[in-house]
Symmetry: C2
Subunit: 408 residues, 2 copies
Amino acid sequence: MSGTDEERRLARVALTWLAEPGTRAVYQLVDRLGPVATLDLLLDGGSPDGQLNGTVAARSAAGDARAVAAEALDRADRLGARLVTPDDDEWPTRVAGLAKLRLPDASRRVDVETAPPLCFWVRGGWPLGEALDRSVAVVGARAATGYGQHVATELGYGLAERDWTVVSGGAFGIDAAAHRGALNAGGVTVAVLACGVDRPYPVGNTALFDRIADTGLLVSEWPPGAEPLRPRFLIRNRVIAAGTVGTVVVEASARSGATQTARRAIYTGRVTMVVPGPVTSAMSVGVHELLREQPKVRLVTGVAHVLEEVGRIGADLAPLARGPQRPADTLDDDARSLLEALPRRGVRGVDALAARAGVDLRTALRKLSLLEELALVVRREDGYALAPPASPKRGTPATTETETPGSL
Amino acid sequence: MSGTDEERRLARVALTWLAEPGTRAVYQLVDRLGPVATLDLLLDGGSPDGQLNGTVAARSAAGDARAVAAEALDRADRLGARLVTPDDDEWPTRVAGLAKLRLPDASRRVDVETAPPLCFWVRGGWPLGEALDRSVAVVGARAATGYGQHVATELGYGLAERDWTVVSGGAFGIDAAAHRGALNAGGVTVAVLACGVDRPYPVGNTALFDRIADTGLLVSEWPPGAEPLRPRFLIRNRVIAAGTVGTVVVEASARSGATQTARRAIYTGRVTMVVPGPVTSAMSVGVHELLREQPKVRLVTGVAHVLEEVGRIGADLAPLARGPQRPADTLDDDARSLLEALPRRGVRGVDALAARAGVDLRTALRKLSLLEELALVVRREDGYALAPPASPKRGTPATTETETPGSL
């Protein structure tokens, strides 16, 4: 493949700016020629696809694609986000399944142009691929009922408790409930966004996004600063569907975004599950439609059923690497005991750590400070947690502080 | 076939007393030898089935089977109930499907002995076979929720409104709600009982049973006076399942009677439908289990879905005969107009009848009295209704008054 590593990364970002993610013609050219040659070809107006040439020409009139891409990468660096491409170890390989996705009766652009992503922007400490290896999407209606939110929270909690990453879209309603459930269990949750990871939408979920970035991941195909334009939600949904082992729809009105995610999951061959509800609820019409019309959709009533479905696939996966492996050889017994007393995920208070490690409180505080200096633990408002693993390639430090808008 | 018509009827009743309905060995003998020869054989201890011989001997020690049967027929006559056998025009042919019913993993007697009925006891004016021709069973939990009762009432109403007979078991909860919905629509509803039609169980539904007997049917395999013994409910359930075009389960706890009815419907090849509910409700666990475990079970969310499922079969059925055809040639124009102003099913008030017929109230009252004398209409508490058709064979008069226990 031609070009240096940096040139290839820049080209992928430029291509995503020239044509929306998912554009099949671009993906196929990249697959054949690599990103650098594809970018050259498109900027020369040399695509065999006339419509694509028109799109590229229009975009190019608004700016220089490479300059825009370089600026996006700089901006990401400044705010502690990173670019992840198929060249990176942390690339989530499962999204390649989108290359084969053909939705029946596809007529809208978002239903036809469903090719795999060219790159992801990521904010948060976990390697993206590892976070998605054992992952389940829990999605549903924004205007969720109390029932739906209760069920989504329980699912998020139960999956996280069993070391499954909970993936959703960060929206109000079901999405937020699923993320919160996972966070409450001290688990990993990933919000896949339809806008820049520096300005997650909706603004009303800002506190939630900060918590997710702190212990999980914010992910987007669009560069920092990108706006959440309407069609982007459906483009984004294909990543939620294909990037996970399975998708659970908790509540969905008829022909809603969540049922579209389910269709993408079904036709990518992913385990697709729905939670039924009262037939008197408009928020369950979409899930009942899926159950009636899609023979492969499975009815689930709780986390046990979900695990039963994804477990068949999950059993074949490599066990999830748990936290960072770092040299702790130089530590004394007290410090090592404290390190072992920390939960694999989530936070534990100093009192509880001291009790578990069998050391007095004063010793615990001294040793925890040492561990913090060694970047083996991080201090939280309510205790200590294991430090998230460094991202494997770019070495971005874990984002433990929330950026204020002024710092962008 | 040997014996007179009366001998054959008596033999069927005696056989049902000697062994519980559904006993396969008895059904197969009757199928081969006819009821009279089968009764002779069994009373002689000549069945090839040793266990059956034991049962018959024990029963015979308690009384003479033919005498018991004759007494039951007399009792039925006194209270306006009738016996219906396969020799009668009104026999519901669909129950013959039970001859092929084999439940998987059957170990209990009630799951093994699922042969077709030998006879039915019927109370009410409609011919049984006609009532069941276009029929849907709506069954479910006794401890139903408000949600389940709401859905069952809507289904009962909507099906009756479209001239489908609503069949259920007369129990509290879902059953009662389904019957009531049908009654409110002025439709035909059939309660299949696990006890005598003169003492329908539960007593708390007495007013409901009276309304059903008035415009629909009470049906049982057991003779008048029979008690609702526990195993009889499951024996009865096979008739609800096989005697209808399809069964809808509205709410059901895990491994409940309603899920057993559904299994009988599935394995008799009937359309089997369930209404989902909140996964947080114990009363929906059974229906969700059916949806997860039985690929042929269809999810329905309302009457439109049910009609879609049963309509495929229903479309092939002869149209339901609507009410009696009687000589009205001698009537004057006012009387004929009033007769035409009556609803096909259900009751209409005198004011409304007068308005529809275009006659004054005084004339309406006079002509309606005449029509009542001619047995063309019946007076009800809240107006008038078309008289139910006479039963085709035995000519039992329509039961318009409720028997008091003292009259039995």
